[in-house]
């Protein structure tokens, strides 16, 4: 502090001056830009349109795009402060090999040589790749081709498996293809909305605009926790954890029993009705009440409201997906939509609300759980078609999926995978059963982490760190939850020597000697986009008529139009959707005498994922600086715990210390909740290695824990 300030002659008035922005009006002078770049938010998959303001090449502000059809000018607190991520401390600047700064040439030479050496000794599958939902589609498309055809391993998966895999699998099983059938406007037009395991007020707050526009709808929220979204509900269904299948089956039971089924639709467009009818016969409302903890008449009422709705919408997120029965739960939801014909019409959809900004892009183009363009590994025709498009031998297209994310980790532990490339994701925080993951990562011979930040908890373990550009520094497209392809643009240069992921992929392709074959003449994402347009032509996710310019001008283009399946034709062999009988099972790790609580995990509005980005935005960090544990007052009283005590959460695997206790009626007695964002108090130290056998998605949501007071030497009062 200088003398003038000490005396009070200087009040830093220049720093706090206001100025007139020609577009946005009076604002802090520090936020006035000389250039605005139209782009799409890089956090979640709502896909909000925004303008990123720069002055002298530095990001100074963001503004919601008032003309954008998704968000109409609004942004959530993360979006409103997103420009702060670009120049935040902790950005990855230089390639680092074993802690030493190296040049890009060295880095990529080493990477290619090490991976090739491992593969030569242990087979092509001994190198695996884990990517993300945060690259642009052009990068996913490029990466898929590079990994599967260039690196020659099928052991490639992404964070999507920790997030959306259950929705993908559920959609594929019911409808024959991935692809959320509805759109956001359905939330504004439905006269009945069931949100199940979806806390959109916290996680997708911008979608709540659509609810606000639709005051006449009946909003039903099923959640074990009294979330912010549950507070918006007309009917709150406080289901016991993971009993949603019983609820959904009982709704199907009531629909069939009370003749609320759209017989014509079922007969024309589905198979499996008789088996379903037989299966749900036992799921009387009374039977489901015993499982879910709900009143039987409430279940009946909700079923009838849905059955009689002109347009019924069911939306879900992680409460459904993060489960060993995630894919089947999605099938149970889809059953309801098919039974009542609540699909393909305005307001009517079984709708998976996605997580990351471009999780949809990797599902479409990524070449992980399917071939690009929603093609199937199993289909010889699909493989041949792709091979022809790529002008490669058909035998090079794998005929089955490689290892899924959790199986890659397990294979690393067993030393069947020895080289791993992790791109823009942070499993040290986000993957369940942390100790096992750490052993797996430590077992690797060569770990490459490519990220926009370094160190992250994961990059800290890497042999080689590749610094990548992030949102705001590169170009391409994202697809949001409603299949809207939006343009993403660069407004600033990446810091230091960081490069767009796209350039890194081409660089590695060069070192692997496959660039000319796989990416002939490619220089930028536009080249990938042009090829992807050809590859997706005629597929459900058809980009062939899109151009960057048209996408940008229109605020995004939805492939498949506003809604899918309006004609009742489904991409299955027989063109019909499949009704699946789904059995309810209790979640795998039930509470017991030693671990009496069910731990639920989730998010908070201020943070995103593992906080590598939001944790470095000061205002977001200050608003929600650390993890907390929600516990019902009855339990807290019994355990002698008080609000703001620091507690330890223990499972049979490990423990999390120093979590701030929130004693609250938000959670039911016997259940506790903590957010999963924080490496400092990582909920995944206690979560389990239990996966959906169909989708391979982890059961993040329920595990048995006990809670004790954390012993600290520190005195309570400090002044």
């Amino acid at each position: 502090m200088n003398l003038k300030r000490l005396l009070g002659l200087d009040t830093l008035s220049a720093d706090y001056a206001y100025a007139d922005d020609p577009i946005w009006g009076r604002t802090a002078a520090s936020r006035v830009a000389d250039r605005w770049t139209k782009t799409t938010c890089g956090y979640c998959s709502v896909g909000c349109g925004m303008l990123l303001g720069t002055r002298d090449g530095r990001a100074v502000a963001v503004r919601g795009d008032a003309d954008h059809p998704v968000n109409r000018g609004k942004l959530c607190p993360k979006g409103l402060s997103e420009h702060h991520t670009l120049a935040a401390p902790g950005r990855a600047m230089y390639p680092m090999l074993d802690g030493r700064r190296v040049g890009w040439d060295d880095a990529l030479d080493t990477m290619a040589a090490r991976f090739r050496a491992i593969q030569a000794q242990h087979g092509p599958g001994s190198v695996a790749v884990i990517s993300t939902g945060q690259l642009v589609t052009e990068e996913f498309y490029t990466l898929g081709k590079l990994v599967q055809l260039g690196l020659g391993t099928t052991n490639y998966d992404g964070n999507t498996t920790l997030c959306m895999a259950s929705a993908v699998s559920g959609y594929k099983r019911t409808f024959g293809s991935d692809g959320p059938p509805g759109c956001y406007d359905d939330l504004a037009t439905a006269d009945f909305i069931l949100l199940i395991g979806a806390n959109i007020a916290e996680n997708h707050p911008i979608l709540c605009q659509r609810l606000e526009e639709n005051p006449r709808t009946t909003l039903v929220v099923a959640d074990p926790r009294r979330t912010k979204t549950a507070m918006l509900a007309d009917i709150f269904l406080p289901v016991k954890p993971r009993t949603d299948i019983a609820l959904l089956n009982a709704m199907a039971h009531v629909l069939i029993r009370d003749r609320l089924v759209d017989r014509a639709y079922v007969e024309a467009h589905t198979t499996g009705f008789d088996e379903l009818q037989q299966h749900v016969a036992k799921f009387t409302p009374e039977f489901a009440a015993g499982i879910t903890g709900l009143d039987a008449d409430v279940i009946e009422r909700v079923a009838m409201l849905y059955g009689r709705a002109k347009a019924g919408f069911i939306g879900w997120t992680m409460g459904v997906n993060h489960s060993t029965q995630g894919a089947e739960t999605v099938n149970a939801i889809n059953n309801l939509a098919l039974l009542t014909g609540q699909i393909g019409r305005a307001g009517a959809a079984p709708f998976s609300i996605t997580g990351q900004c471009n999780a949809m892009g990797t599902r479409e183009a990524g070449f992980t759980s399917g071939l690009p363009g929603y093609r199937k590994f199993e289909s010889a025709a699909d493989r041949e078609e792709l091979a022809a498009l790529w002008n490669v031998d058909g035998g090079r297209i794998p005929s089955k999926r490689g290892l899924a994310y959790p199986d890659i980790i397990e294979a690393a532990l067993a030393k069947r995978v020895r080289g791993l490339w992790i791109i823009a994701t942070n499993p040290v925080v986000s993957f369940p059963n942390h100790n096992v993951l750490m052993q797996a990562l430590e077992s690797l011979e060569f770990l490459v982490v490519q990220d926009g930040f370094d160190p992250t908890p994961t990059s800290a373990m890497a042999h080689l760190v590749l610094p990548a550009a992030i949102w705001g520094e590169k170009e391409g497209t994202y697809t949001n939850s409603e299949r809207r392809v939006s343009k993403v643009n660069a407004a600033v240069a990446p810091p230091g020597e960081a490069r767009p992921d796209f350039d890194i992929f081409l660089g590695l392709a060069e070192k692997l000697g496959v660039r000319d074959e796989l990416f002939p003449g490619w220089n930028g994402p536009r080249d990938a986009f042009e090829e992807w347009k050809r590859v997706s032509r005629g597929r459900m996710c058809d980009y062939s008529e899109m151009t960057y310019e048209a996408i940008e001008a229109s605020g995004g283009i939805q492939w498949g139009g506003e809604r899918l399946y309006a004609d009742g034709q489904f991409p299955t062999q027989d063109g019909r959707a499949r009704l699946y009988p789904v059995e309810w099972q209790p979640f795998p790790e039930q509470p017991n005498a030693e671990y009496p609580f069910v731990l639920n995990t989730g998010r908070t509005v201020e943070h995103w994922h593992t906080r590598t980005k939001t944790g470095v935005v000061p205002i977001l960090d200050a608003m929600s600086p650390r993890a907390w544990l929600e516990m019902n007052p009855r339990d807290a009283r019994r355990l002698g715990l008080r609000p703001h005590d620091r507690v330890t959460v223990l499972s049979s695997r490990s423990q999390v210390d120093g979590v701030e206790l929130r004693v609250t009626e938000i959670v039911a007695p016997g259940q506790v909740f903590m957010p999963f964002h924080y490496v400092e108090a990582n909920s995944n130290r206690v979560t389990q290695s239990a996966y959906d056998p169909i989708s391979r998605e982890p059961n993040f949501k329920q595990c048995a824990v006990k809670v004790t007071k954390t012993e600290t030497g520190a005195k309570r009062w400090k002044i």
């Binding site: 000490l6 009070g8 009040t11 009006g25 402060s81 007020a201 707050p205 009294r226 609000p643």
Partner: protein, 468 residues
Amino acid sequence: MSLLLLERAQNGETTIRPRPGEQYRFHFDMSKCIGCRCCEVACAEQNGNPLEVNWRRVGEIEGGSYPFTQRFYLSMGCNHCLEPACLTGCPVNAYTKDAPTGIVLHSADACIGCGYCTWNCPYGVPQYNDARGVVGKCDMCFGRMEQGRAPACVDACPETAIEIELVNIAEWRGDHQAANAPGLPPAQQTISTTRITLPAEITPQLRRADYHRVRPEDPHLPLVAMLVLTQLSVGAFLGLGVLRPQGPIAAVAALVVAFLSLGASTLHLGRPIFAFRALRMWRRSWLSREVLAFSVFAGTAAASVLLPGLTAVAAAIGFAGITASAFIYIVPARPAWNSKSTLADFYLTALVLGPLFLAALGVQTPVLAIAAASAAQLLTSVVKLIAMAASEEFELRASSRLLAQDLRGLLVARLALLIAGGIVLPLTGHAGIGFAPALAAELLSRYLFFVSVVPRNMAASFFSREAA
């Protein structure tokens, strides 16, 4: 200065401009707010404020029992009150209530950073910006309103839970019940103009999410020194007037203490060089009156060294200063200060420390009077603590909880030091030695006075920014 039209194209409204007898106000719809905190971030970006300064804040209230739990949010900028307590207390007239719009404006140029407005506002709206040395507050984005644009918070809200509207001032003065909400201090005190729409079915027992998170406030060390030392000096001059000791040494010493304390007080200011401006609003502000009284006291006391006849006059003016000091703190927004016990406390400090100071300088002093004053001071402290603990008011109970739990060690030390220095030592013939522990006791007492106050404020969120 007049506002242009506030155009809201989406509603087709072209003019909502206050007519005479009207002003702008915020409307907050609690039934729509989802607690997303967009308004807070938008406000921070709009004004370029540092982390510690939050002109708009979101708080949380909760009640009921699972599954019938209720959770609601409050979002608040400035309430642009009809009786703005910030304005009334300001010693330098840094506040104005803009006549055409009713917006309460604050001038950073006029402000001297005394922070008195931050004690007067029951909503915690004016906030001291440590980097700048001045206070700042929500001005309803006055600059944007002039351009016919909505404030940043209104623009940012995805739920249209925050709006600007007009209020008829006379009608609102008559009935401002709609400014009340659970988690907010009563609107009556300052007549907040913010209209709040409550959810239809709201349980009466909603508790603030920060209920258990009560943290000690800023100790304001320069003020601790200033208060105790001015009181000591005034007490000493009273003693000099009564005891009339030989020689000028005691008077000079007491005068030095007076000047030291007045010097110390300027260290409290964000802009000490402009301390003189604090005299300006003596007609309205207790802070101006305090500065005025103590300035005159210091002058008279200095003169009394040469003209001993003025000693009693100096003491009388000094007590007027102490009275003004006390009334600075007797404000509704700080319930633990808002009682006559503050006045008693300050007077008694003068009566305990003044004579003990003289005793330490070798002046013969009546020990029974000292012991009686000390006993009265002890009683004041204990009675106040008990009364706070038994209070209906959350802020008072929270203050007592702070004193009895977090600050217990200091409280016990203070009481023990006062007993030793003010009662035991004087009664055993060691009044001179008693001065040091008694001074320590009163410094500690004033420290506790500042840190244990729990201000009235809007409910906050569960977390504090610093570790609990």
